[in-house]
Amino acid sequence: MKRANLIILIIFSTLLLTACVGKREINDLALVMAVGIDKGSEDGKIKVTVQVSRPGDARGQTGAPTGQSGETTWNVEAEGESIFEAIRNLTGVASRRVFWAHNFIIVINEEVAKEGIGDIVDFFTRNPELRMRTLVALTPDKASELTSTITSLEVTPGEALSKLFRYTNISTLAPYTEITDLLAAYLSESSEPLLARVSLKERKIDGLKPEEGAKRKQVELSGAGVFENDKLVGILQADELQGIILFRDNINSGVVVVSCPKEKNNNISVELNKQKFEVKPTYKNEEVGFNAKLDASVTVVEAGCSFSISNKDDVEQLEKAVEAKLREDINKSIEKIQKEYKTDVLELGKVFQNKYPYEWRKVKKDWKNSFSAADINLTIHASVDSGSLLFQPTISGKEERKEK
């Protein structure tokens, strides 16, 4: 009996020996590092550019080629009537199987985004290989060019692009947008997507021809794209973003440049260290409103004039100047979003719904208009609590002697 059972077990077990079905050898894979999506050469077609890492050439710390072809990545494009078809068409030129799991970023051309990115969101969130934390960005340039540009300090352009975003929580030049956030905003009944924007700018100085100045293009964080449903409806430049990101994310830093308290021709730069931002909705006479409050701790990081945090008058004047500048910047951005684009990328619908769930049912049908008409009152309190390392103002010893 035992022998019979053993034989049956062995027979059944052999059914599991299916030649390692679904196996993928690493040297058969084309590891995608970045994807660019542009319009195709014909109407209705889409062009997909993939940047594939060449591990043999991407070795080493400096990116210096160690043999082979000398190129660290292999960039290739294909067209199709859908993203999937374009990718399938890539198999005609790729000797390896395209593998998405290590993709750092998806870059979408703005012309494509204006026509709608619903299919892009669907494709990349349906795909089991792709990470849900893959970055997504827009570009006014050709996505194929941007993803293929050797940029920054990294060996692989895709990696360089992703690392540009690593410190967006202190730079606020672009929001940090991942595919999961894009999907959540797209599916939401109130919020709209806000996508990071990158562009090519002549920033790099050629070491062999420094006299020519910055002539080589590099990728730069350049603000954000504002969406309504899945269509791009507007652009926020990098300097307009600080106030907007406050509504969406926790940001650790920010820079404000104001005139010196006494010498108006010179500037003083402060860094916003800790920012506590709170939004409370109001609903009076069937009108939606929001009270936003920002408490910021400020550190003086650069003074083009005589300034010491021990001088209370100077500190008070500086605080007022910082508050006024922040209020002006944030209000300008909010107004652009509310009046010009009329799309809730500030996630205020969610805030309102949380406080007034019953009223939300009435308001949500016409949220676009309610949002654009909403009164947003901004209260800002800035407190200068540090002058970094310095206690005394940095002024020339000769000037000091004259004063004495």
Partner: protein, 369 residues
């Protein structure tokens, strides 16, 4: 001597039996109904699960050496006992369908899209028949390790996703209404029903009868608390809309988790740690189905029917899970009615019959003893 398990093993079996399907597939289904209130629905369900398990223990204490089928046999007679055996077998065919949907859609959709469905069905079949051949004690010991792996998964997931947690996504509470939130808990109740039915079949094997109530309710309570972390994180990190979008939302959660720059994509971590839970579900379903068929035919041991029972379960579930739409429609619809109806119906009938036929079963019980 009859094989027995400890009360701790019972708790471990309950937790494992509850876990694997509840954290993903069930949450996705509930999110499609009540959005961000899935965590409240999960709490409601835990409360209902505690009530039914308490009732089961009260009912089973009447004839502590008999499982649900034996109890019906002794209280209502031979044919009601046979009918209950068939009902339990049908129940576990349905349960196996929902378990296999969880098993196959986790592994095939996320790891081996090219692998044929039959491979997963066959793997589950072989593991199931092999494990129950050795009896419940071996499975219960495995379940104890399963609890540790479940806790490890929960902790890792919490570490990897708390930084993206947004409390705003959980608010406002009862956004779909109180009644709807309670009603949505029926989907999670199917997981409790599966566990409750398992308890009905194995409770007589638990050694210390004095602590049945304590260990059963504690198992349900701890299981519920371990599970509730998932809907809270799924709603707060992924958002309810994204959770509702997917068949297996816990895998989306795992795909979104990351610790630092280098530990991301938890799919493999997740499958590794929840494997014991899903295997416990598979094995216990095989065992309970085999016991039901053994009782149906009046056999002395369940082992001769292991393979036929396994083949019936596997063929039915292969047909079910081959089509995603068919499987999801079954789990969202008929399975709710079948599972809750069977468990609540049988337990309540048994409870009430116990009062009506008090003399009969007491006499039978005394004669047997």
């Amino acid at each position: 001597m009859k094989v027995q398990i400890t009360n701790g093993m019972l708790m471990a079996l309950i937790i494992n039996m509850l876990y694997a399907k509840s954290i993903g597939m069930t949450q996705g289904i509930m999110a499609r109904e009540v959005k961000g209130d899935i965590w409240i629905s999960t709490f409601f369900s835990t409360f209902q699960g505690l009530l039914i398990i308490a009732l089961i223990v009260i009912v089973m204490r009447r004839i502590p050496e008999g499982d649900l089928i034996d109890q019906f046999h002794q209280i209502l007679g031979k044919f009601p006992g046979k009918f209950v055996a068939i009902s339990v077998f049908v129940f576990f065919i349905g349960a196996y369908g929902s378990i296999m949907a969880t098993f196959v859609y986790h592994l095939r959709d996320y790891f081996l899209p090219e692998a044929p469905t039959v491979l997963f069905i066959l793997a589950a079949f072989l593991i199931g028949i092999y494990a129950i051949h050795f009896g419940i004690e071996v499975v219960a010991r495995m379940a104890l390790i399963g609890v540790f792996s479940i806790l490890a998964l929960n902790i890792l997931l919490m570490l990897g996703s708390l930084s993206n947690f947004d409390i705003k996504e959980l608010l406002p509470v009862f956004q779909s209404g109180f009644t709807e939130t309670v009603w949505a808990s029926r989907h999670h109740n199917t997981d409790y029903a599966m566990t409750a039915m398992m308890v009905c079949m194995i409770l007589p094997l638990v050694r210390d009868k004095q602590t049945w109530m304590k260990s059963s309710t504690a198992g349900m309570f701890y299981g519920g608390m371990i599970i509730v972390m998932w809907p809270i994180l799924e709603a707060g990190v992924l958002t309810a809309d994204v959770t509702a979008q997917y068949i297996v939302s816990c895998m989306q959660m795992a795909r979104s988790a990351e610790i630092g720059l280098f530990i991301h994509r938890y799919e493999m971590v997740m499958v590794a740690f929840f494997a014991l839970s899903i295997l416990t579900q598979i094995i216990m379903t095989f065992l309970c189905s085999a016991i039901a068929v053994q009782k149906l035919f009046g056999l002395k041991d369940y082992r001769p029917v292991i393979i036929p029972v396994g083949i019936v379960l596997s063929i039915t579930c292969y047909w079910l899970v081959k089509d995603h739409h068919r499987a999801m429609r079954f789990i969202e619809g008929p399975w709710v009615l079948l599972s809750i109806g069977t468990v609540v119906g049988l337990v309540v009938i048994l409870w009430l019959s116990g009062f009506v036929f008090r003399k009969k079963w007491k006499t039978n019980h005394e004669v047997k003893q």
